[in-house]
């Protein structure tokens, strides 16, 4: 994984170098060749890293005046780097902590937040499973091993086979905190040990498509049409909501989160141009293609 990233970063740098060397006579009339390209570092969340790379790959060829480089390492790593001034953009799959803001202020860095995409997790089951909706509590009970049969949640008399991503996946951790533990940070509830940990989204989709006993979860963008998405009710009383770009943007779908980038102060110059492009229709189309939900107007 890290090697692959390294390679990508290298390739990007190389592309940038080549573009910088190539003559750009055909570019827009006002194009004034900047003598030295501005380098923009983007670092942080592994959840966002593929999106950040896709952005960089799309942006770089048309913008020889900047040198983009993208690395992962986790949200904490990215924010630490922003505070110590070694990155221009910190990618974060969670909001910055108060401690981190204080730490930054002490060093004269003012972390400023921009929401760049939304991430929703869809609960998926086999198309032959008659269940159409679940409450967060029911999903939590299923994954904690308290509910073992589909009969208990309005389905057929079948055992429940729980599918999850591996523990190193950001989605796994998010699901643990937000769904299994219902957002209670003091909860020590764990996945039932019988939960199948599959190494890829593909593995989960394949098993759900094939097995009427299975329940799984995945990023909304990874959901294929041959599995059934379950509507989720936040508390069992409020109406169950299907995940979609609209419900996620409206905040009615309960299993979603915002993805952020942090910059030192309000973004300026080339960084601002890059962030504006991320939020443009072109940038948000990439968000959709990478399995996330675009930010609404």
């Amino acid at each position: 994984m890290m090697k692959k990233l390294g390679l990508l970063v290298m390739t990007l740098c190389l592309c940038a170098g080549l573009w910088a060397c190539a003559p750009h006579a055909a570019q827009g009339g006002s194009s004034t060749e900047s003598p030295a390209a501005v380098s923009i570092q983007s670092k942080g969340s592994d959840t966002i890293v593929n999106l950040a790379l896709a952005w960089a790959e799309a942006y770089q060829p048309n913008h020889p005046e900047v040198n983009l480089s993208v690395t992962g390492g986790g949200t904490g790593t990215g924010i630490t780097a922003l505070i110590s001034g070694t990155t221009d953009i910190a990618n974060a799959s969670r909001q910055i902590k108060a401690v981190e803001i204080e730490e930054g202020r002490a060093k004269g860095v003012d972390p400023t937040e921009t929401v760049i995409a939304l991430d929703a997790i869809a609960i998926i089951i086999n198309p032959n499973n008659p269940v159409t909706q679940l409450s967060l509590q029911q999903i939590s009970d299923i994954y904690a091993g308290k509910i073992d049969n589909w009969l208990d949640v309005g389905g057929e008399d079948r055992p429940i086979v729980r599918l999850s991503r591996e523990t190193n996946s950001g989605t796994h951790v998010y699901f643990l905190e937000k769904v299994l533990r219902l957002g209670d940070s003091k909860s020590t509830l764990l996945f039932d040990p019988r939960t199948l940990l599959l190494p890829s989204s593909e593995g989960i989709t394949t098993e759900v498509r094939d097995n009427p006993n299975a329940i799984g979860y995945d990023g909304l963008g990874y959901v294929t049409p041959d599995v059934k998405v379950v509507a989720v009710s936040a508390d069992g009383v409020s109406p169950a909501v299907f995940p979609s770009a609209d419900t996620v943007n409206a905040g009615t779908y309960p299993i979603s989160r915002e993805l952020y980038v942090y910059t030192n102060g309000a973004p300026q110059g080339e960084v601002k141009k890059y962030l504006d492009w991320m939020l443009s229709p072109e940038g948000q189309a990439i968000v959709l293609s990478m399995g996330f939900v675009p930010v609404g107007e």
Binding site: M1, M2, R158, L190, E207, N213
Partner: protein, 308 residues
């Protein structure tokens, strides 16, 4: 005559001068294997030993593996590996040995010429490919056939691992059977034994040590295999309880290392525990190999006694 004579002498001279270099070089190559094994073990030890100080034994010997919350129970992983390997041996040993017997003793020459390369190609099949077959074909088939909650079980892993180790077993066992002198078979047939009696009472016992090595190498291949197992066995860290567990998902040591090593922070407790698992795998294969070679030595002595 005059012109040809000095030639060989010249060559010899080259060999004589090269000899002090070549012999140690070849020797060094031979010893390097030992050196590598020691170096690998030292590396594993230096990275994994710290785990014993950082994690309590009670935690390590618990039945819960959930590393991101500091649950480092290794028992489900060790149990999972042993279960899957045992299951693989149940498939691979009989099929592998019988195939070797067929190829070496029964099959006509042309059949043999076809079968051996085909089986060796099977051995070269990438395990990821087998894993895909397992997910798409074998797991759904097993689920429907045996009416299981899910087909991603130890059994699916065992069958595919068996398929992976069969070529190893066949290839080496066949070589061993082939090496049994023709006179043994001729003598057996001459005193009126049938073909099957000859195979079971003479040829196979005579090739016993080679066949045993084949089985051990096959099992070694199975226990170290990662990709296939990770794809088809479900990776649920449940402590296996008896043979029933074959029909339930398991998590093996190799799959755990492969799935988690990529993202773990270097030097963290989790990182050290993964290396500790590596040490355990290393020790298991060491025990398998050493006990195999001890057994073979003892058997050779006995057969030598009988034959002399």
């Amino acid at each position: 005559m005059d012109t040809t004579a000095p030639r060989p002498r010249k060559r010899l001279a080259i060999f004589r001068t090269a000899d002090p270099v070549l012999t140690p070089l070849i020797k060094a190559c031979g010893y390097s294997a030992i050196l590598f094994v020691i170096m690998i073990f030292v590396f594993l030890w230096s990275e994994g030993f710290a785990a014993l100080g950082e994690v309590s034994l009670k935690n390590l010997f618990s039945a819960r593996w959930y590393p991101i919350e500091e649950y480092f129970g290794l028992l489900p992983l060790i149990g999972g590996s042993l279960l899957v390997t045992l299951g693989a041996a149940l498939f691979a040993v009989p099929i592998g040995v019988l195939t070797a017997v067929y190829i070496s003793e029964v099959a006509p020459r042309w059949m043999r010429e076809v079968l051996k390369p085909v089986i060796e190609i099977l051995g070269g099949l990438p395990s990821v490919v087998l894993g895909f077959l397992g997910i798409l074909v074998l797991a759904p088939f097993l689920r429907k056939l045996l009416d299981l909650p899910t087909g991603l079980t130890a059994l699916a892993g065992s069958i595919l691992l068996g398929a992976i180790s069969i070529p190893t077993i066949v290839s080496i066992a066949e070589d061993a059977l082939d090496a049994v002198p023709r006179s043994y078979r001729d003598a057996s047939l001459a005193i009126g034994a049938t073909r099957w009696q000859t195979i079971w009472r003479v040829t196979l016992p005579a090739a016993r040590s080679g066949v045993f090595t084949a089985i051990m190498l096959g099992i070694g291949r199975a226990i170290g295999e990662t990709m296939t197992v990770m794809m088809v066995s479900g990776n649920a860290a449940v402590l296996p309880s008896g043979l029933r567990a074959l029909f339930e998902p398991v998590r093996t040591m190799t799959a755990t290392i492969a799935a988690e090593m990529g993202e773990v922070a270097t030097g963290s407790v989790h990182y050290h525990v993964l290396f500790l698992i590596g040490i355990i795998l290393f020790l298991i294969s060491l025990v398998v190999n050493v006990s195999a070679s001890l057994l073979i030595q003892r058997k050779q002595k006995r057969s030598e006694r009988v034959l002399s």
